[in-house]
Amino acid sequence: MSIDLSQFHQVFFEESYEGLDAMEQGLLDMDMVSPDAEVINTIFRAAHSMKGGAGTFGFTQVAEFTHVLETLLDQIRSGQRAMSQDIQNLLLKSVDCIRQLLQDLQAGNDPDLTESTTLKGQFEEILSGQSPVPATADKSDAPVDDKKEEGGGGWLVRFIPEVTLLQTGNEPARMFRQLADLCDNEMQVSLDTSRLPVFTSLNPEECYLIWEIRIEKTINKEDIEEVFEWVTDDAEIIITPLDAGSAQAPVAETKVTAEQPKIEDVQAKPAGAANPVSTEKAAVKQPAKQQESSSIRVSIDKVDSLINMVGELVITQSMLGQLGQNFDITRVQRLQEGLAQLEHNTRELQESVMKIRMMPISFVFSRFPRLVRDVSISLDKKIDLIMSGENTELDKTVMEKIGDPMVHLIRNSIDHGIEKPADRVAAGKPETGTVHLNAYHQSGNIVIEIKDDGAGLNTDRILQKATEKGLVAEGANLTQEQIFDLIFQPGFSTADVVSDLSGRGVGMDVVRRNIASLNGSIEVSSERGRGSRFVIRLPLTLAILDGQLVKVGEEIYIFPLVSIVESIQLDDRAINNVGGHSDVLQLRDEYVPIVQLDDVFNIEKEKRSIAESIIVVVETDGEKIGVVVDELMGQQQVVIKSLEENYKRVDGISGATILGDGTVALIVDISGLSKMSGTSAKILDGSHKAA
């Protein structure tokens, strides 16, 4: 029977990643002086399961590496070795290394083994160093001793079980049947009843019989030993060759001596022999290209509630169906009730389906204790990380994309925000700085806060840097918020020394852009000497969008609500023409470029003057543009449908949705529109000529 093991790979990977997370968590929480036994057990178990799984599913590299890890952990677990900072560091590095190996394997690539080989060397050094016990574990990898004995003319097996044999579930009859299979029934079993007590003292649960089996066929002695493998300690098994002088086995002949078989030898052999075979076989079945984490785990509760709702939907449907069969006007009331119920069912179902994609943000948060630890050690700072709201749920897709921006912000907080211990003491603050992560839901958004009690943003220096880089004019008078906002500008970096941690070219502008691509926003507030606070707001899901419906000509477009700053109606005086073909709007003390949506999307419509139109001011990547539309309609949540999948990509459009009346409305991609308007001078130019 052959079974394709690759079908279990996905589960193995997911489970291993969870195991690694648990290991990491356990290692970080560990009290170095008196480690909690349960924590160590958890770490050990994770390594152990991974080793077992990796071996079974043919990932030899992972199995070999986790083996040394497990050996060391086992020593710690059994109290033979004390935990130390060095070991902790090494284990944490190994967690990263295994994760990398698994990711490579999952992607179907050959993993890079340099790191694991180095780490493995370090483990072996520790293990061989002041190892309290001689390293025993690796023996199974060694080729099995080639000492094959063959009974030239068969074997005589004397099987003398302990009386307690049956109590371990071992049954002599089964072993004899196996032996019979081995030698094609060419054997004779004789019974020795000498141990049998008198009937009154006979305990039916005990085994008093002794057997002698004469095997009259040439078979390997190991095969016989394997049959009795499990009972070597519960029985005396004496295997002697029937006829030592036979010529049938010339090679083995000399070895077939009267030497008494050593039962201890027997134990490890089948195990060892099984090893290379299974790994070799399975290694051939390397995974074909596997999709990156394409499955999610959903709790049974959520699935149950879904099934429940579908059930209700079916009931409502059949109720409506019956109603339709012989409908007359008197039953309108019933119909309305039914439709109301249908709407209710549908909404609930939608919410539940959305919930499937929702996962607690702890999946992202859990990587930060490690980050904070590593960064603070490398910077010689003392930092407490406080996390709250870990159970706040958000969409899996959003979650996958928010990790990197958060890493950047946290690194920044530690690198630039929190001061060195000495400076903190001098400033009258506790030596240990605090970084606080918090997440909560607020009006359909998830809000993530990253707060530190460090030095806060230095407005003077930011302004000075920005002036140097030409981001603001010399002597410009900016409000505090405008100054804070400068750190999100492309090409801005305040770090005096480009450190290993922050300031490697990935600036806050990228953070903002990443967040904006998720239809989110980021704000900063800060107080000198007291700390800073970054607030990220994200939609709970990417599948639904809070939209503002606008009308241009006969077309309806949808603007993401988050990107709208304000909507205004102005007279022509607020519009200035720059350079003869670009219109700009003077919005208080700013100039905002104006985009005519009908020009960009080539909509046929009657030209109206700006005064009759409405300008929706939207912001993207820190830039504002004013979009001219005819009419503002309602705001509503819309379900985003991909335009690429259903039609093709269109510049300036991020997707589409279907409105209540069945018409399709396009969702405007604000940053795309802004980019188009950068070249829109041409478009506007053309249209002006035409007009």
Binding site: H9, Q167, G169, S278
Partner: protein
């Protein structure tokens, strides 16, 4: 066809074992740790127990010891799935009443061959 209780905290191993055994026509009950397995065993008997050793809540050794206390499990074959090739873990299993062991890693064929030793 035998009724087999498969106990492992690792979902992938459990799936693999279960899939293999079901493919061979057996009836498989899965449990993710010793506590869960014992709870099941208290209600009904099975023909064979396959259990991992290292598990949270109740490990395989404890499970084995507890199962042997149950009247219906006095002689039921209990096989431990173990990665330790060293003898002491096996001994511990034996002294807790385990029938035998299967050393990880194993492939489906090895699993089927091994359980044939104790079934029927």
């Amino acid at each position: 066809m035998a009724k087999i209780l498969a106990v492992d905290d690792s979902a992938s191993m459990r799936q693999m074992v279960s899939f293999t055994l079901k493919g061979a026509g057996h009836d498989v009950v899965e449990a993710s740790d010793g506590t869960e397995a014992l709870k099941y065993a208290q209600g009904q008997s099975v023909d064979l127990v396959l259990s991992d050793v290292n598990m949270p809540n109740m490990n395989g050794i404890e499970l084995c010891r507890n199962l042997r206390q149950l009247p219906g499990y006095k002689f039921t074959p209990i096989l431990m799935l173990t990665t330790e090739s060293a003898g002491d873990k096996k001994m511990e299993g034996k002294s807790a009443g385990a029938t035998g062991w299967i050393v990880k890693p194993f492939n489906p064929d090895q699993l089927l061959t091994t359980i044939k030793k104790v079934l029927g």
